[in-house]
């Protein structure tokens, strides 16, 4: 098993004085390539802070984070941005699709950020949308899609540029149970590959069965990590 994400003694605090909040208290954590890892825990336990740091959007106060061997501490702001563009795919809780763009155009954004032409980006996005069962909805705008369909577009957007790391923030929180299960099944089917790690932050215990590994967080620390046989997609 290759280590994809390696966090060592990561700390992060916000605010000063009485308002200071210690979000991460020496987190040591690893996620393997070819696996889906769930970060679970109560609200405020530091899941979002940790996933933000792993995705290169937040600089820890101390400790180190390496993603596929790249030490994020050593990357400049510009290189971190380039790292996110090339190596990270995002699935957000509220989807964050651009309302003025069609499903295909939304899914093609990471490729456009990387400099692909609109035609090439749309073509590759369309192929992925077809695999996600959205062939008939490619030209629809987000407000013409159901929540489940929007989440599938978001999954396509996270995978279209074939990143090494996919981070998902509460991907089922805005979906009903059935749509949530379907979205996770698709995510597991398409995202989990031998050369890629998938980290999912969630409260939703109904999707725990999709994980290869579950890291339980509390009060800014990883309390324990459980390994399980993931549900077949």
């Amino acid at each position: 098993m290759a280590i994809a994400v390696d966090c060592h003694d990561v700390t992060k605090a916000f605010g000063t004085g009485d308002a200071r909040v210690q979000a991460l208290r020496g987190v040591t954590f690893a996620a393997a390539a070819g696996e889906m890892t769930l970060l679970v825990g109560p609200s405020g336990c530091g899941k979002t802070t940790l996933i933000s740091a792993i995705a290169g959007m937040l600089t820890p106060d101390a400790g180190s984070i390496a993603v596929f061997g790249a030490d994020l501490r050593k990357l400049s702001r510009g290189k971190l941005t380039a790292f996110r563009a090339k190596s990270v795919g995002f699935v957000f809780q509220q989807f964050n699709l651009l309302p003025a763009l069609t499903a295909t155009e939304n899914a093609s954004i990471p490729l456009r950020i990387l400099g692909a032409s609109a035609g090439e980006a749309n073509r590759r996005a369309a192929v992925l949308l077809d695999r996600l069962g959205l062939a008939a909805h490619r030209d629809r705008f987000p407000d013409q899609l159901s929540g489940g369909q929007q989440q599938r577009v978001a999954i396509a957007r996270a995978l279209v540029h074939e990143p090494q790391l996919v981070v998902c923030d509460e991907p089922t929180a805005s979906l009903d149970a059935q749509s949530g299960q379907a979205a996770m099944a698709l995510l597991r089917d398409l995202a989990v590959r031998a050369d890629r790690a998938v980290i999912v932050v969630t409260h939703d215990s109904r999707i725990f069965s999709f994980a290869d590994r579950i890291a339980h967080m509390a009060d800014g620390r990883i309390e324990n990590v459980s390994i399980q046989d993931a549900e077949a997609a």
């Binding site: 941005t81 996110r84 563009a85 509220q94 651009l98 003025a100 456009r112 950020i113 923030d169």
Partner: protein
């Protein structure tokens, strides 16, 4: 990514139209008022501009601008002619005169008396008739707009009669003389006849018009005239600016127009700034998502600037088009705004102001985008 930026902009139609309206409104206000101001200032010196043959104006030493006429002595004409470097010099008369048509319509005219022999100073833009016919008895030339004020709705026709200060006058030519600041009707007639129309005291010579001899500059010859005669002599260009400067410095016109222009800029910045700020605020999560997905600050600023540029160009185009239409339709003779126009450099200046409005309006919004934490998308 430019297409994405434009789709974001056009997708929020209400705000897009609000932004374009803000820029268009400011452009219209600034361009229209700027053009009016320039037109008004140009009109103060239109008599000087219309006299194309002469390049030197000689006048009383105390004269402040063209409308402060204090007559020179008749002998001053000969003195000017005697100054080395003067190719020729002719008398020029300028006064205000009441006019009355035979059917009783009255108005006030600017009466310009031209050298009897040469008719130097007459408008070169002749719409109907011949200026040479001014040598006929009681003959005058009237400008087209003045004609239409006295005989509204009637076709231009020669031979019409009117009373000029209770003296008979007959129209033998209709000109396109530039509109003057102080009168709506411009009448040209030979110098001696002008004196007959408006008999005055001992001294009657308003100005001496002169031309510098070949190889001499008007400014140098004007200095020589002033030195030799003690009169005030200025090149046409200097006299034009002296007149304009007088109105700029001694009247409330610049303040009035300036306030409206400043108001246009402020209102433009306010409308565009607030609307753009709302646009950015409502799209902040989208910008954050793009930032999280690896769009650099530089490219994000580029997207916002592109959106602002499109809004600026659209608004400026509409505002400029409306202002140009105003000048096209509102300045036809005999309208009070005849002769007003929109100089290219006013439009160019307004383009710069519009860019400033858009940039200032976008400044606060750009800052919000730049300091935006991409992790906002996880909250």
């Amino acid at each position: 990514m430019a297409v994405v930026a434009l789709r974001m902009l056009f997708g929020d139609r209400a705000k897009y139209l609000g932004l374009v309206f803000g820029v268009a409104f400011a452009t219209l206000l600034v361009t229209q008022q700027g053009g009016m101001f320039v037109g008004l200032m140009t009109r103060t010196a239109s008599v000087i501009e219309d006299v194309r043959e002469a390049d030197i104006w000689v006048m009383d030493p105390q004269a402040l601008y063209i409308d402060t006429v204090r007559a020179l002595r008749d002998t001053d004409l000969g003195r000017v002619r005697g100054v080395p470097g003067v190719a020729w010099a002719v008398p020029f008369y300028k006064a205000s005169a009441p006019v009355k048509t035979l059917d009783g319509r009255i108005d006030n005219a600017l009466l310009l008396g031209l050298d009897d022999a040469t008719l130097i100073g007459v408008s070169h833009d002749v719409k109907l008739g011949r200026v040479e016919d001014l040598r006929q008895p009681d003959a005058i030339a009237i400008d087209e707009a003045g004609y239409l004020r006295l005989w509204p709705g009637e076709k231009l026709r020669l031979g019409r009669e009117l009373e000029l200060n209770d003296h008979r006058a007959m129209v033998v030519a209709i000109t396109g003389a530039s509109a003057a600041f102080t009168a709506n009707i411009i009448i040209h007639t030979p110098y001696t006849r002008a004196l007959d129309y408006l008999p005055q005291g001992r001294d009657t010579l308003s100005f001496v018009l002169a031309r510098a001899a070949p190889g001499q500059t008007p400014a140098a010859v004007a200095r020589a005239i002033a030195a030799r005669t003690g009169l005030q002599a200025l090149s046409s260009a200097d006299f034009r600016w002296k007149t304009i400067d007088y109105y700029l410095a001694k009247t409330g016109i610049p303040i009035s127009f300036g306030l409206v222009i400043v108001l246009g800029v402020v209102v433009g910045i306010a409308i565009v700034g607030l609307t753009f700020n709302m646009f950015v605020a409502e799209n902040l999560r989208q910008y954050g998502a793009l930032k999280a997905m690896g769009l650099s600050d530089l490219r994000l600023v580029g997207l916002v600037l592109l959106q602002g540029t499109v809004v600026g160009l659209m608004g400026f185009g509409i505002g400029l088009g409306l202002a140009a239409s105003f000048f096209e339709f509102a300045t036809q003779p005999p309208g009070a705004l005849r002769g007003f126009s929109l100089p290219w450099w006013v439009a160019a200046g307004d383009a710069g102001l519009t860019a400033l409005i858009v940039l200032l309006a976008m400044f606060a919004s750009l800052r919000r985008v730049l300091v935006l934490d991409p992790a906002i998308v996880f909250r």
